[in-house]
Amino acid sequence: MALQKLARVEEIPPGRTKFFRLGSKTVVLANRAGQMYALQGICPHRNNPLEGAILWDHLLDCPWHHFQYDVRTGENHFPRNVYPADLPRLQEQVRPLKTYRVEVKEGDVWVDLE
């Protein structure tokens, strides 16, 4: 467990996201109604960065193709909810985002990137 300080809380107001590059890793922080979430910063659909992702309630919307992920679990919501099961190759596109543990201490956002 190695917590790393990424930002001040006020840098990511409720309803907003912020993208970080940390060496070879990327992280996106999302503030949903005051609760902070950290997820991998690359959309597994086409490996595009989630920089500029928009938060719609609990869903993180990828700016490239509008794939949506639940910030609480990292699971893909859309288009997994409409992709047909008889085309299994599509399931490769809707893999979840990795999630990271977040702690907020004295206004600082710490993320466990292990």
Binding site: I54, W64, H65, H66, F67, P79, N81, V82, P84, L87
Partner: protein
Amino acid sequence: MGKVARQVVEQAGIEVNVLLDKLVRAAGAEFTTFYYYTILRVNAIGFDGEGLKEIIEDARIEDRNHFEALTPRIYELGGALPRDIRGFADVAGCPDAYLPSNPRDMKAMLNVLVEAERCAVRTYTEICNMTFGKDHRTYDLALAILHEEVEHEAWFSEYLTEGPSGHFRRGTPGTSPYVRRFMSADIG
């Protein structure tokens, strides 16, 4: 390309290449949606499907109209459509609207349709937000498309009984009451 048309957008503070990327992705999504909605429409049959067929057709034709209306603006700003249509499909800004595993499952088909329209609503809202007060022509076009995408979402959402109906029929299929004025090649 319009030299000054691009310059005024740049000078208003918009990164034109970023905007062009969004417009090409949006055009790609309209083009692929037109294709996929064709498959959905022909499969909308039976007691449940026949009633749905007409509004799929409206949305299908209007999405094609959106592609037609977006394309001149892309070139005016110095952009271009990809030379390879496969590349165009790959950059489409919304996921493909596949026919459900069971093509007779009209509720599954409606979910595909409503989610596709919601993706379009988000797409044009972003473009409107980016261009408002800066790129008047793109904003005006994106807003016109947004009006129609919002109506499409409402039609399919109402079919899923998610809320009371505000739906009224188009006079003829795919009239595009908001976008039509941008299709200058069609209306002369």
